[in-house]
Symmetry: C2
Subunit: 604 residues, 2 copies
């Protein structure tokens, strides 16, 4: 009898179209806490070092965590792991919404895709009925069209559809996998491009099953505590009211949210006033239709956007709203402060199936190259790529998704684009290991230095951003974070904080939680008690951290196997030498934090 | 002033369409003897480990040697180096014909392609006029059509065209680069697939320049000796008269030329009589129109084929004939003894732009899987894949090149196909590091064991097959091979012989020679004297061997950088445990030769 897990894995060989259902490996999920870690181990074992990301030998694994699909609050996640075409490293991306829970209702913890199809296909899963079906009719559709067309053809709106848009089809190296009416994205590391290479347009899932939990009564009790905290704590209130963009204006003011491709004042002042044009409360309200939420989440930080007005109008309104990372990377990082334009850029990315972070970062990179004369109109198909030119940014999104003209170069991501452009462009590509930096500048929290530099997947916001510790100074004694780490520009013990958060987040992700709830459960033991109540296990916070570390090390081991050397454990040079004015003129003091970090990890 | 070399390199960035001409690095070509080694060093330095083969960061380098394009006999070669999509290792492929010399007449030693084009292009080179041109009109054409169409559109038959066919366009992992009316191929390691990924359909070259040599008088003298040897030595006479297939019947009889996917008698007896149906003298004469030759080669082992008659008729006659490797791999290795069928299979491979070795080997692999019940008609699109079924083999070539149905799986090469097929298929995939074994069974010459197992590019016939030493027992005292190594099944010092031949061939290839002339110059110092007369250098045989070793180590280093582990230094299990009856029931005694080999190489 399985608790939490459904105990079954769907295996799909896209080359010979064989589909089978196998038992989940109990020992493996126990060792790696949840299916995300287990999927990582499968990836490590099965993908040979000689295989590229665009290779039938690469696997694409959709996986859930044990608490997903239960009454556990804010845990409706799924993850996708694969060898990343963007980084050549371990790649993962996770997302909320309703797809993950639905997969579990259908009876499965994981879907493992191997091989590559000759023609477009989609996987149909309705409880025990699993079929690879022709997807020629959907190929070429944007992600929202595809989602709706499959539901309509199936005559059933209850199907959850995870699919790629044209960006994935064109192997844009930072293509995302979209779901929930193309509103939510497993976006990072180019997982959508791998799906495109495999000619897998979509996965359609519906299920009527139930996730059994070991101790329903105990679970209800923990959830009651959580809900009470949700309903009383200011930190939850803020997220409920403002969504993920609630912190945007503050993050701009402390130099965390990047502007002008992390060059900040060199190209313009992004002051409070301009931040308010995009942020909440402020300009963001102009595009806000209403609030919304993911599966079984009483926080509800999702936002629904209006079509907007004026020059930048969406194809239709009532679509997924702009999240913090998207607002920052498509907005201020490109020097754009028109909220309607950012709303449109965001919607285009969702429709095309593009990672908004990498898209924004790559456009910002191109803009800086243009401003500095490394690129001219001759190179950009005539586009005037000045910072702040929203029209040009919009045009670039179209070009990137279709790999047209200059878009064909930017579709490779900023690292490759910089190498192909040459002329010193490399300096302006803000990435680690090829993955574009998210909207948290490590000059604004020193724990971010060793974290980003050594993160096996590259610079990501889902692998352990210690900012929330360093910004608030809040202590998490259950995690061992019981000192005062509230000085963001101090390097003192920041390597330790970074590592703990990485391990902790690895556990939370593997178990199925949304990382935004991290400080919002009120107490860390609530996660553990919920985990134990669901699975029937009896782990401690310490064991959870240990499991998280195991997952983190596994990703590192994958990279070593695949020829990624320690030379890649570094940051964009800019962050090491150009001071961040809004963050006390700090740079990242990597020389101070890296040795300690490597020692803590045992990676020296 | 350059002698031998033209001193110029064309650099083409296919992403931004920038073309430049740069000086050849004198120090680099000196260190690596010729441009092939130098190109390898550039590949090692410039292609990051995180880049896959299908990646704009991968380079595709066309390169020549210093003696190519001079009066030096049998040296009209060029090589292509790249990260191989088939092996993930250092990839190279070389070819004769006229393309290499023409590139030098145009004024260039090397063309380095980086990036990847959005739309099909071809590179036009006529002396100092270099241009990337639209190739949309040629995309989809087979290699011969493309060759002729470009010449026709240029209104000049003197252009040498190197191009890919549909196999390269479809990223078949063992697609070749064809030239000379699609007659000659730089075939191995999937170099044509990289060209296809880059959307580079062709390179068209014409030049009116001349390669200067340092000591024309001295060179003429050496060449006079060589020509006298050509005109008197039986070993040359045999190759002149019979072409590369002259040895076929003998090679079958000694168990060197594989039959039935190296399973030999397990599926049928390929006796003298059947060998004579394909070989020369014998059945081969039925498809032989006339003899031909590559640039500046008085041996002339090329053959021209007739269209044939009966069931298997070529689209047209007077096309490139069948070489030894192709005859063996498309013929006896698939259990096929109909020479017309093999002629057609060969011509189809040339037109589609497929490596005949990997194609034959992959089809033979599929046939064995079918015979053993691992594959059924349900898997093969209904094809009855029994050994010897020429119709099915022909159908498979079409399917592979177009990636249709089951062909989509075989297009991945035997290693990946085996993994995708499963059910124990791996045992029957005859490859090393993913590169399919050529038509020389290492159970028939023990030096082949460590050579194939450790060869950085995988199992290739161009990297140092010691068979010619072990078969003839001939001594090459100038190379240090002065003992009696004529017992093919003895392991005594075979590691040493293998290593010497590897280093020597690496030098010969880098300098520009055809490897078939190796024992046919009569004396090794003639190569060195010719090399020195051309380049003005003053190297010795020992230094040439050292340079060859340097190149060989470089390929190994490339692999290590790219995550290829020593675990991959092995042979298909079959060769280690199934005796080869025709070769004294030998298996490959790798445990005896590998340790010595690794020690000699310093690779322990």
């Amino acid at each position: 009898m399985w608790f939490g897990y459904r105990g079954k894995v769907v295996k799909v060989n896209l080359s010979n179209k064989k589909v089978s259902v196998e038992a989940l490996d109990k020992q493996l999920v126990k060792e790696y806490v949840g299916c995300v870690g287990a999927a990582g181990k499968i990836l490590y074992d099965m993908v040979p070092s000689w295989a590229g990301a665009f290779d039938p030998m690469n696997l694409l694994i959709f996986t859930t965590g044990p608490v997903t699909g239960t009454i556990v609050q804010s845990a409706g996640r799924f993850s996708v792991v694969t060898k990343s075409p963007l980084t050549g490293c371990f790649g993962d991306a996770s997302a909320g919404g309703f797809f993950g829970p639905m997969l579990k209702f259908a009876g499965y913890d994981m879907i493992i895709f191997s091989g590559a199809s000759e023609k477009p296909v989609y996987l149909y899963v309705e409880d025990e009925n699993i079929e690879l079906r022709d997807a020629s009719a959907y190929w070429g559709m944007d992600a929202r069209e595809c989602d709706r067309a499959i539901c309509s053809d199936l005559g059933d709106k209850k199907f959850e559809i995870a699919c790629i848009g044209p960006a994935g089809e064109h192997l844009v190296r930072y293509a995302a996998i979209m779901h929930d009416d193309a509103g939510r994205a497993a976006a990072r590391c180019g997982v959508g491009a791998v799906m495109g290479f495999k000619k897998l347009k979509a996965v359609a899932v519906k299920g009527a099953g139930k996730v059994e939990v070991a101790d329903p009564e105990g679970l209800r009790k923990v959830m009651q505590e959580v809900l009470e905290f949700y309903n009383s704590a200011p930190i939850v209130k803020r997220l409920r009211e403002g969504g993920t963009v609630a912190g945007y204006i503050t993050m701009i003011s402390i130099g965390d949210s990047p502007t002008y491709n992390f060059a900040n004042e060199q190209f313009g002042e992004f002051d409070q006033k301009r931040a308010e044009k995009l942020g909440w409360p402020g300009g963001f309200e102009k595009i806000l239709e209403k609030n919304s939420s993911c599966f079984m989440c009483a926080i509800g930080c999702r936002r629904v956007s209006k079509a907007g007005e004026g020059k930048y109008v969406l194809k239709e309104g009532s679509v997924e709203g702009v999240e913090y990372e998207s607002l920052s990377m498509l907005g201020s990082d490109c020097g754009i402060d028109d909220v309607y334009a950012v709303n449109l850029l965001n919607d285009l990315c969702n429709r095309y199936g593009l990672d908004t972070i990498s898209t924004g970062a790559t456009i910002a990179f191109a803009m800086e190259c243009y401003e500095r004369g490394i690129l001219s109109r001759k190179d950009t198909d005539g586009l005037d790529l000045k910072f702040g030119n929203a029209d040009a940014a919009i045009e670039l999104v179209h070009k990137i998704a279709k790999r047209e003209g200059f878009g064909n170069i930017l579709a490779e991501g900023s690292r490759r684009a910089a190498a192909l452009i040459g002329g010193g462009a490399e300096y302006y590509a803000m990435h680690v290991k090829g993955l574009e930096m998210p909207a948290h500048d490590p000059r604004a929290f020193q724990g971010g230095g060793p974290h980003y530099a050594c993160s096996p997947v590259g610079a990501d916001h889902m692998e352990g951003i210690s900012l929330f510790v360093e910004f608030s100074g809040q202590r998490f004694p259950e995690l061992g974070i019981d000192g005062d780490y509230g000085d963001r520009t101090s390097t003192e013990k920041k390597a330790f904080v970074a590592k703990v958060i990485e391990d902790w987040w690895a556990f939370l992700t593997a178990a199925g939680w949304c990382l935004l709830v991290n400080p919002r459960y009120g107490a860390e033991n609530r996660f553990i008690r919920a985990f134990n109540a669901v699975t029937g296990e009896n782990i401690t916070v310490g064991e959870a951290l240990k499991a998280g570390e195991r997952i983190y090390n596994l990703k590192r081991a994958f990279n070593l196997k695949h020829g990624i050397s320690r030379m890649e454990d570094t940051l964009p040079e800019r962050l090491l030498k150009e001071p961040n004015r809004k963050s006390n003129n700090a740079v990242v003091y990597l020389d101070k934090t890296m040795p300690e970090y490597l020692k803590l990890r045992g990676w020296q």
